[in-house]
Amino acid sequence: MDKNELRQWEQRCIQEEPPACTAACPIHVDVRTFIGHLQQGRWDQAWQTLARIMPLAGLLGRICDAPCQALCKRNEAGDAIRIGDLEQACVNHVEIIYRVTKLPSKGKQIAVLGSGLSSLTVAWDLVRKGYGITLFEPGETLAVSLTNQHRTLDTASVAAELDQLEKLGVSFETGAALHSQSFLDDCLRRYDALYIGLDGVASPEWTLERDRSGTIRVETGSHATSRSGIFAGGAVFSTIWQAAHGRWAATDIDRFAQNVSMTAGRDREGPYESRLYTSLEGVAPLPAVPMAHADQGYSKAEAADEASRCLMCQCLECVKVCPYLEHFGAYPRKYAREIYNNASIVMGSRSANLLINSCSLCALCESVCPEDFAMQELCLQARRSMVARGKMPPSAHEFALEDMAFSQGDDFSLARHAPGMERSSHLFFPGCQLSASAPGQVEALYDHLNRSMDGSVGLMLGCCGAPAFWAGHAEKFDEALMQWEQQWEALGRPELIVACSTCHRMFRDHRPEVPVQSIWETLEKVGLPGNRAAGSIQGTLAIHDPCTTRDMPGIQATVRRLLGRLGVAVSELPLSRETTECCGFGGLMQNANPDMAREVVQRRGALSPDDFVAYCAMCRDSLAAGGKRTLHLLDLIFPEPRTPDPADRPKPGWSRRRENRARLKERLLEQIWGETISMGPDHRSIALKIAPEVQSRIDERRILIEDLQQTIALAEAGGPKFRHPATGRYKAAGRPCHVTFWVEYAPTSDGFEVFDAYCHRMEVGGP
């Protein structure tokens, strides 16, 4: 990712866009923070928030006409927040103390004409920037028009604000004879620039270009008049707009005086439309809080009540639905920056590795994001880059990639026409996880397909390469698909029937030329077998759509029709179909961050008290492992008499998943093609006795039975081992690849009993 791409990613996440009120405010007062302080009773901080942006907030806060309210999101659920009244309340109820920083003198002098709000704003802004300011008022009293026009403004508070200006160094000259051209000429000689506040003064004597109505013509965007060095503004009715004119003119004058770009970095000056999205789901409409005494404005308590109606507009649509995005404490815009920084670290810890590798790549964020931010693409891109640069932590995905290699190897891989056939019209590809979880259902399905399709369905066992794709191993993924493709070509390019929606997506997205249908579509066409279990299902089943079907509404609909045909009562989860959630297996989340995956699946399971019905073997197993009673759709279609309660079927451990695949191949070859194959390496015949609690501990540590067998075989063949004199047990280590496995065991009459096993990745050697 380069800087430009980062900016594009950041741009897409709108969480940091300002709320509509702030965007609508001509000077962009941070209304949300202001109201947030009021909600918490932090009146002084609320005041400081106002004063940070508002010029002379003790004055403007009393008379701001709050055009922001028209854009307030609360409008759509009750009344808009009375932001103007809250500003007044704040100014009324706090002790007005300005914390003003003033820059060192620039040695330049500016003349400000008139004491309307725009002139006072120019004086306020420029004096703090280090300009010497003289304000000329033709009348005897300053800001008299303001006190006359606004009943909420009393003379004392105006005087306090003027006093503040004076303290900052602004000089006031009242009774100034400014209604002459010579006054302007004289000013231009004595001052570096001149501002005319049209909300306070105007003189027909001044020879400046005017518009048709006779008002002094001002350049849009620069407040320049026809004469260089003379700026003007404030000819508007709204108070906040008068202040805004003053603010922009002050910027113009500052840039003019310093001879720098008048336009750079000013694209978001003035009101604009914010891209921030805020959902109103679950927001009850509320009317504005009334004032007990309208003439006194809101009391503190009333203001707090009114503030409490504020929605604190923010987006977070993705974070609300994704435990992963929530877990890392921020939102995609921040994550994009962290991921970018992660790649550029030379020394020190790459702290975003876990963030990058924990994403399930399920794309729920993209589907709920108003701007389609795709966290999965960001993470996948980062993973590919990490793999390419040799910076991917080896422990993140190695176990899954080894499992994939197992599926591609002789133990599982198989590609055949149906027995006695020379060609296949279709090819059944059950995928690795259904074969690992419920091999009997693969056999039943294959049998049913061939019975219903004239025996013309071939069979291929293997892997679609998804684990490599998820791990960011682009080359390994290509190799896997090429290996698959060669076998498919050799079988005459039959139409593919897949039982796994991940395989389906991999082929659809990466081999679009392969005709592919889901087993559910096939079953709908060819019909279901006779002896089904659906009648025995009590109650309603909640449908869990696999995240890989997110953009396959046709398959989701087919599954629902099949469930209907089976006579099963179903319910829909709040997050389903295009907004379904991952089971924690997707994107190898379970490998890189098992705790996260556990949290994800538990949250998913809690969405409904109903048992779930899934139609992905890995979803079924992950949910079951998370304690959620879950059926696979195939449990209803091909019931297994020995498993009366399939929803309660535990997830087979990692070793069992491999063994199930190997045995499936063995059985299919034997029963369908009449062939026998060898058992593989000798150590596989070592019989192990393992207590269930030891077995589950070992499985959690991702240690396979075969790792134990290999280690014991090595030790018993004379390798180093240790003996415990009291128990007579042995302890030995083996390192078949990148991991050292330790096994504590003892011989039994026909093999060995394993009492414990653990592993580490570090290599330990002599001194």
Binding site: P394, K721, R723, A726, A733, H760, R761, E763, G766, P767
Partner: protein, 70 residues
């Protein structure tokens, strides 16, 4: 990779080949091109090292993660 543990339990194991008790000794630990030495139970005769379970699942796993993220 200092550990608080003095590995009393591990030191009750004996090297099966040499039939000798284990002693604490300096061993070299290597991961991802990083190498350092630490004390672990080992056979004083043949040098075979026994990596204690608590070390493998605790400090070693922690350091592995740190080195992987380096």
């Amino acid at each position: 990779m200092k550990s608080e543990n003095n590995w009393t339990d591990e030191l009750t194991w004996r090297c099966a080949a040499c039939d000798r008790p284990l002693e604490l000794g300096q061993v070299t630990v290597t991961y991802m091109d990083n190498s350092f030495t630490t004390e672990m139970p080992r056979c004083a005769q043949c040098g075979s090292v026994l990596v204690p379970e608590a070390l493998a699942l605790g400090k070693m796993a922690e350091v592995e993660k740190i080195l992987e993220d380096k």
